[in-house]
């Protein structure tokens, strides 16, 4: 028994060991992995139950010196890497990676000569002192080694481009590829290396630079948490307009997501932050980050104070949360400004408070009673919007308000009725001693919401309204109820007490709504529960006698509920991802209840489709010609589907999956799909079916079709098109269906040859000639030996394969003797002969068919393409605020009067950007922008190509000069009663005769422009002239006073 128990203990211990997470030290690599279960760390690796790896000495980290670089790693890993990279093993324990940088030291490098004239460029300690020549290269002529300079370049360990000497040693530095600037060294070929530009040149971002995409799908330039509060404070004021707060504080963020974008290797990569706004993208300079959104912590800060029954807010983290208030503002006595929001919360720290200035509460007493302040997140998190998760009492219910009671006091005024008084007396109700009952914010404080009692009506009072539960208040006049329904007919005081909804203070409702939205994917609903009472006796319930037996109160019940936000019943699901950002389940489902999220190709391929559609498309077809079709006829098949779809086909039966099908119809997502099949023929009796696997004896073929709609529904059972081919011999000559490039195309300038390709309906042999001849005579020439030979033969597909049936039979070859005379064209005649397999086997029935009529193909000569203009070039002067430089290129001639596609690239120093198509091209004018230009010399290469293949290239220098200097006065002189100044650049000038320079610019008089750079004004002798000029780039200067006596 004792053994059994011991065994059980050992067994359980063993089990817990196997499944517990721990630290695994991989002996063969020296790396330590956290949170690895024992059974995932096989021997000889070392496992320790401490998941953090702190308890495993092998996992102690340290600084590993590898040549000039230092890495923070384990001792074992350092040993392996040092050995593999040929460095001396140097490792020392360290608790932080930051300490390693101090160990990074420059190596002493130089030429090490051995065996008389052999040389190696190496570290000092790798060489004997007498042979070491510090700082010298092996190719240094003074060392007289056998290593000579070469033009070859190579990437070396430090990541820079160096020349290589004839012994393979590092020679002169060619380029410093600075990673932080976005460059890495890359070997183009064995003898050529270069600094590869990883930056996203077209958008002006460096490699590794990242930025945030905010909830509106646009770039977020500042911390979204700060934006919220800045805006709130800006908008704070004594009177808030309805909806103002909603626009700035409580954004309706349902279905939104943060993204980080990063420039990597010249491309922008979108990295989604966690969906449901569980992560928020925070920009921080050039390094954006998706950080966890602690929205739930904000709600946790709301604690119910059992003593007061009010919400007590504790530790509402101002970084992520804020307290909802409405008009909860302060005003220091004698000041106009009202202090709200965050400042109000910390009002004691304000200088006015410290100075002892009296503070006035701007908020109404009403609001103080409501216990409405709540700590809510600045950025809410989203909820599961699946319909199965909707609940009336979900998490949103913390935004419920009520039930609350409202008492309407009986005014014992002259009209002996229930009334709300106007103006100053109006508040007497609110501020009466009955206030202790709490008006719960129900009663609108705005008299305009109430109809004045004029004491004039007869028979005016309350009336009974059936089904009152949908009518919170039913104090209506005599218009709306019959005498029988009237209640308290003798109350003449009230013409109409209120209409539905109006009685509630709109500010309260707004606040409750905002607060609800602030809970995240919640929606508020105002529920009036009517006056207290029973349905049996409405009258009794209206004139509520009150719990204390008072007869002069009406009790209203009020309940505001916060419910889960629900998507609209129907939405345009395709909008998800239409902004170029990945669609996700949350983004999709927020669009509409009909939207369903799918990931057909994985988590990165989310699409949002309408879930109402569970049916695969219905397919119909038409074909031309009808069955039976002549052999090798091109059969046009038109598929019609009853919804947009994407269709594929197979020529043999496949599995039930559309993805496995081989051929696309037309690649379109539409209701009509048209495609052609070049149907072959039936096998002749003498042909062996094994030699023609795709042909049948009976000439019957099946085409299997599947079409898939946007919701991913497709017909598992294929739609079958039966095609039947006549069993008669093929008596129709081959037909050319399409030329590539098409006839009437241009040929490159001065070129007499062009390779072309064409598609036929059947396998054939084809020839061309410049004259329209019989097929047998086409292209026939005599060689030197007097033998006939054919130079004008095309190379053609002559096998019948499934691919050929689906895509056609192709021939290709080169056409020669094309005219180079501009404006002229060359006409080629092409004829073909079908059934190459019958060569030598023709009989009276089965014969090869030749084209009687030639297919004509025309090629036209073209001009050379020319680049005629590029701007700007040479020195380009701009102001310091320049955002980009607009570049423009013009092309002329070529095949289509200068129309071409042009691209450009920049070279700054030795660094080349990649080619980029002009933003506007495919015309004779090509325009683009160089973003974020810097003051430097740009070399701009341009390359254009037109439809004929004509190319034109050019390089231009553009020297960007930033003008930071104000205009200088070159000369000032007097002439014919004028003071004239001459400047060194274009500008505008003003002058004044007093107050010195300070006021000239604003209050000075304009000087008259004589030329671009010359200005004059009438001269008053003995009077000082203060002149200030500003150039076109905003640089200005005020010059020393000028006085002419």
């Amino acid at each position: 028994m004792r053994f059994k128990f011991l065994f059980l203990v050992i067994f359980l211990f063993g089990i817990s060991f196997v499944y517990a997470d721990g630290c695994c030290f991989d002996v063969s690599s020296g790396i330590c992995s956290l949170r690895v279960p024992y059974n995932s760390c096989p021997s000889p690796n070392i496992w320790n139950p401490d998941s953090s790896c702190n308890a495993l000495s092998e996992c102690s980290m340290g600084c590993c010196v590898l040549g000039r670089s230092v890495s923070y790693t384990t001792q074992r890993n350092c040993q392996i890497e040092s050995s593999a990279k040929g460095f001396e093993f140097q490792w020392q324990p360290s608790s932080s990676a930051n300490q390693c940088s101090s160990l990074s030291k420059a190596q002493t490098l130089g030429a090490c000569i051995y065996d008389y004239d052999f040389c190696k460029f190496t570290e000092k300690k790798q060489c004997t002192p007498e042979n070491f020549h510090e700082g010298k290269l092996c190719s240094d002529p003074s060392l007289k080694t056998r290593c000579k300079k070469t033009e070859k370049t190579k990437c070396f360990d430090d990541g820079n481009v160096y020349k290589v000497d004839s012994c393979g040693n590092r020679d002169e530095l060619v380029n410093n590829c600075v990673y932080s600037e976005g460059y890495i060294c890359q070997q183009k070929s064995s003898g050529e290396a270069f600094c590869k530009n990883l930056n996203c040149v077209d958008i002006g971002k460096k490699n590794g630079e990242s930025w945030c995409i905010g909830l509106n799908g646009k770039i977020l330039n500042s911390d979204v948490r700060e934006v919220v509060f800045k805006k709130t404070n800006e908008k704070a004021g004594p009177i808030k307009k309805k909806g103002e707060a909603k626009d700035y504080i409580f954004q309706d963020n349902v279905g939104t997501r943060f993204f980080r974008q990063i420039c990597i290797d010249g491309k922008v990569v979108t990295e989604p932050c966690a969906d449901y706004r569980n992560e928020v993208c925070i920009p921080n300079g050039n390094n954006a980050k998706c950080v966890a959104n602690p929205a739930q912590d904000c709600f946790a800060a709301n604690v119910l104070d059992e003593e007061t029954g009010l919400n007590k807010i504790e530790n509402c983290d101002p970084e992520w949360c804020f307290v909802t208030r409405l008009d909860d503002c302060l005003q220091f006595l004698g000041e106009e400004n009202i202090i709200c929001g965050e400042e109000r919360a910390n009002w004691r720290n304000l200088p006015q408070a410290k100075a002892g200035i009296m503070v006035l509460e701007v908020s109404s007493d009403l609001m103080k009673e409501l216990s409405l302040p709540m700590c809510v997140p600045k950025i809410t998190t989203g909820r599961d919007l699946s319909s199965k998760n909707y609940s009336a009492k979900g998490e949103c219910s913390i935004g419920d308000y009520g039930p609350k009671h409202a008492w309407l006091d009986h005014d014992m005024g002259s009209c002996d009725g229930w009334r709300i008084k106007e103006s100053s007396t109006y508040n007497t109700i609110i501020n009466s001693e009955e206030k202790r009952w709490g008006n719960a914010g129900l009663i609108s404080l705005d008299p305009k919401d109430w109809k004045r009692d004029d004491c004039a009506g007869v028979g005016v009072g309350f009336c009974k309204v059936p089904n009152y539960s949908n009518h919170p208040l039913f104090f209506e006049g005599n218009k709306w109820c019959s005498l029988e329904d009237r209640f308290e007919i003798n109350f003449p005081g009230m013409k109409s007490l209120a209409s539905s909804g109006k009685i509630a203070d709109p500010k309260l409702i707004e606040l409750l709504n905002q607060r609800t939205i602030g809970l995240g994917d919640c929606a508020g609903k105002l529920n009036w529960l009517d006056v207290e009472g029973t349905t049996e006796n409405i009258a009794e319930s209206i004139v509520k006698r009150g719990t204390e037996g008072r007869t002069d109160h009406i009790l209203f019940k009020f309940f505001f509920s916060a419910k889960d936000w629900r998507p609209p019943s129907s939405g345009n699901c395709t909008l998800c991802g239409a902004d170029g950002l990945p669609c996700s389940e949350y983004r999709c489902k927020a669009i509409g209840k009909n939207c369903e999220y799918k990931e057909p190709k994985g988590i990165d391929s989310g699409v949002c489709v309408s879930s109402n559609d569970l049916r695969s498309p219905t397919i119909f077809h038409a074909q031309d010609p009808q069955n039976p079709v002549p052999p090798f006829s091109s059969v046009k098949i038109i598929l019609n589907t009853d919804e947009d779809s994407y269709c594929k086909f197979d020529l043999s039966r496949t599995s039930g999956k559309i993805d496995n099908m081989k051929y696309e119809t037309d690649g379109k997502f539409s209701r009509t799909h048209e495609f052609r099949l070049t149907m072959s023929r039936a096998l002749r009796e003498d042909e062996d079916v094994n030699n023609y696997p795709v042909l049948t004896k009976d000439g019957k073929y099946e085409i299997f079709i599947r079409c898939e709609d946007g919701a991913g529904n497709y017909n598992v059972n294929p739609y079958i098109i039966n095609l039947e081919i006549m069993k008669t011999p093929d008596q129709i000559p081959p037909e050319i269906l399409e030329f590539y490039p098409p006839s009437n195309s241009f040929v490159e300038f001065n070129k007499t040859t062009k390779k072309i390709k064409f598609r036929l309906n059947e396998p054939a042999e084809c020839r061309w000639d410049l004259e329209d001849k019989h097929y047998d005579e086409m292209g026939i020439s005599l060689n030197k030996e007097g033998n006939l030979y054919n130079l004008n033969q095309f190379s053609c597909d002559n096998q019948i394969t499934e691919e050929n049936i689906a895509e056609g039979f192709f021939c290709e070859g080169e056409l020669r003797n094309i005219t180079t005379v501009i404006g002229n064209s060359t006409r080629f005649y092409i004829k073909c002969q079908d059934q190459p397999e019958l060569e030598g086997k023709e009989d009276q029935y089965y014969q090869r068919n030749k084209n009687n009529k030639s297919f004509q193909y025309v090629l036209k000569a073209s001009h050379a393409l020319e680049i005629i203009d590029f701007s700007p070039i040479e020195d380009y002067i701009a102001g310091s605020s320049i955002q980009n430089i607009s570049i423009q290129l013009r092309t002329k001639d070529g095949a289509e009067r200068g129309k071409a596609e042009c691209k450009w690239r920049l070279k700054i120093g030795d660094v080349l950007s990649s080619w980029k198509l002009f933003n506007r091209t495919n015309s004779s004018t090509h325009i683009d922008l160089i973003p974020n230009p810097i003051e430097t010399l740009y070399k701009i290469d341009v390359l254009c190509k037109d439809v004929a293949g004509n190319k034109a290239s050019a390089s231009y220098n553009l020297n960007l000069i930033i003008d930071r200097s104000p205009p200088k006065i070159l000369r000032a002189y007097t002439s014919t009663g004028h003071l004239t100044i001459s400047l060194d650049e274009k500008a505008n000038c003003k002058f004044a005769n007093n107050d010195g320079c300070i006021h000239v610019y604003n209050n000075g008089s304009s000087m008259e422009r004589i030329k671009d750079k010359e200005f004059k004004t009438s001269l008053k002798k003995g009077t000082p002239y203060y002149i200030r000029c500003e150039d076109l780039f905003g640089n200005s200067a005020c010059y020393p006073e000028i006085v002419v006596y």
Binding site: D21, C24, D26, S28, S29, I31, C32, S33, L34, R35, V36, P37, S40, C41, P42, P44, N45, S51, S52, S71, I80, E81, A84, Y179, I184, K196, L198, G208, I262, I264, D265, V269, E271, P272, A274, D275, Y276, N278, E279, N287, K289, C290, V291, A292, P294, T381, G382, R383, D384, N389, P582, S584, E585, Y586, Y597, E599, K601, G602, I603, D604
Partner: protein, 256 residues
């Protein structure tokens, strides 16, 4: 006469000396079994086999990396139309994931070896078939893979006796290597997973600091994609040879 006799004697000694030397050299070649015989001028047998071995690995490596160090992952998701294995997984909400043995170098070496072993064997068979004019006898194949910094060593030991007429040579070492960033990929992916699995869930975001890692490992682009259900796929791409490693993580899932 005396002089002539002396001269003859010296000549005799020289001749004898040469004979002895030739004898010793012959004996050396006769009794020593060369480990590696330099191929004949017209045939480089070593270089007929090793490129084939390298190709077998080159062929499978991209798929292996895109799937995350597994050829047939058990626990996987689909990313860019392909299966990608989870390296750290938890099905529970707001909890830290548990890792598997994905980063074990020994396991990776073993799996790669097993995947290509039959193809490596075929390299030898093809070699034999493509040299019908030679008599080729092969011993047992001893093959292993070793991942080291910057490369993968392919260690193939097999004694092959190649004979044609009188001449015969024996080759037994077909070691070669492939330039590869696999070592670094294991190391970087491990750092990502260490960050993921040591995060303060659910307070902090568990996404690894990919930008920090890129600053540490300048030769690699490291990106991630977080899916709708909280799955995250990391991609590490070598700028130089475009090698791409994908692996998935399901960690500290806070989706509702």
């Amino acid at each position: 006469m005396k002089n002539r006799g002396k001269k003859s004697q010296i000549t005799l000694f020289i001749v004898l000396g040469i004979l002895v030397l030739v004898g010793i050299i012959s004996l050396f070649f006769l009794f020593s079994k060369p480990e590696f015989v330099k191929p004949t001028k017209d045939k480089d047998f070593y270089n007929e086999i090793t490129p084939c071995i390298k190709k077998t690995l080159e062929k499978v490596l991209p798929e292996y990396l895109e799937k995350g160090f597994y050829f047939d992952p058990n626990n996987k998701l689909v990313y860019q139309g392909k299966d990608v294995s989870y390296h750290c997984y938890t099905s529970a909400k707001k909890t830290i994931c548990t890792r598997n043995d994905a980063q074990s170098k020994t396991r990776i070496e073993k799996e790669l070896k097993e995947k290509i072993l039959s193809d490596v064997e075929n390299c030898f068979k093809d070699f034999k078939n493509s040299n019908p004019s030679y008599k080729i006898e092969m011993g047992e194949l001893n093959f292993s893979i070793e991942i080291v910094p910057k490369r993968i060593n392919l260690k193939a030991k097999r004694e092959i006796k190649i004979s044609k007429g009188e001449s015969e040579q024996i080759i037994s070492n077909f070691d070669s290597y492939l330039d590869s960033s696999l070592w670094d990929l294991i190391k970087i992916s491990n750092e990502i997973l260490n960050q993921e699995s040591s995060c303060n869930c659910p307070v902090d975001s568990c996404t690894a600091d990919t930008i920090g890692l890129m600053n540490k490992y300048n030769d690699y682009a490291i990106t991630f994609f977080t899916g709708s259900k909280g799955d995250r796929v990391y991609t590490i791409k070598d700028y130089y040879n475009k090698t791409k490693l994908n692996f998935a993580v399901k960690n500290c899932d806070k989706t509702p």
